[in-house]
Amino acid sequence: MENFTPVSAIIGGAMIGVASSMLLVLSGRLAGISGILAGLLPPRRGDMDWRILFIGGLLLGAVAYQVFAGEVYEVSFSLGWPAIVIGGLLTGIGTRVGSGCTSGHGVCGLGRLSPRSTAATITFIVAGGLTVFVVRHVVGG
């Protein structure tokens, strides 16, 4: 637990909750990001501007963080391109078939106390945990 960062986790998490609540109270929309993105495929007149602006806002938030922090945020990926492509495809397929992702089912669905979203959230966390276990301790171990 050497890399445990409870303070930034709780503050960042609370900001995610505040942002989701803002979108719901102002625009009546749930901040499910896979759904907001998929709603642009294909773009529909009258239903695309808010989606593009929300997504643009996500990027702007990350830019603002780097400006305030005065440094470029370092990210590292543990696996190569083939795994990234496969992971991306599975994420795209799974979030559409399963009707949501970490934000839609996790943050918003749990916020609505939805049994459906609770089941989905437990499922993707367990599947993610098993995948990491296999990659790191079975194949890689």
Binding site: M15, S20, L59, G92, G98
Partner: protein, 148 residues
């Protein structure tokens, strides 16, 4: 216009939250999912922090007759816990565990300029399009506009 500004500001706060909490850092996410290794429980607190806010705030928000700038709330209507929900979520979980990015952070991390983020997002969008070929895939989730 005002609706679009509301969406933009919500997006900015969301993107800041993802970055501050390090959901945008695949290593951090994988360390959370790696219960059998050097487990880092930080992301459990990210989810707890976010859900604590939404559980309280949504209760009040959904008691309103309507949102501030819209005529109604757009909420999913489906209630069933079926194979499609669980199968799709499991497939997503495998992708999440493989790379360490979920859709929100995948978009947000483009701002850090890594080639990998662009490849991941491109593949994710391709996957969303492919989802229509999933067996017994029905029409898009219907959303209902609650009467104001």
């Amino acid at each position: 216009m005002i609706r679009n500004i509301a969406a933009l500001i919500s997006g900015v706060v969301f993107g800041l939250g993802l970055t501050v909490s390090q959901m945008t850092n695949p290593d951090k996410v994988l360390a959370f999912l790696d219960v059998g290794g050097a487990w880092d429980p930080s992301l459990l607190l990210v989810l707890a922090g976010a859900v604590t806010v939404t559980v309280v705030a949504f209760r009040f928000v959904l008691k309103r007759p309507q949102p501030v700038f819209e005529k109604g709330f757009y909420l999913p209507t489906r209630k069933s816990i079926d194979r499609k929900l669980l199968g799709g979520s499991a497939v997503f979980g495998v992708g999440w565990g493989l790379v360490g990015l979920c859709p929100g952070p995948a978009i947000t991390s483009l701002a850090f300029g890594n080639t990998e983020s662009f490849i991941f997002l491109g593949s994710m969008i391709a996957g969303s399009a492919l989802a229509h070929f999933w067996p017994r895939q029905v029409e898009e989730e219907t959303e209902v506009l609650q009467p104001a």
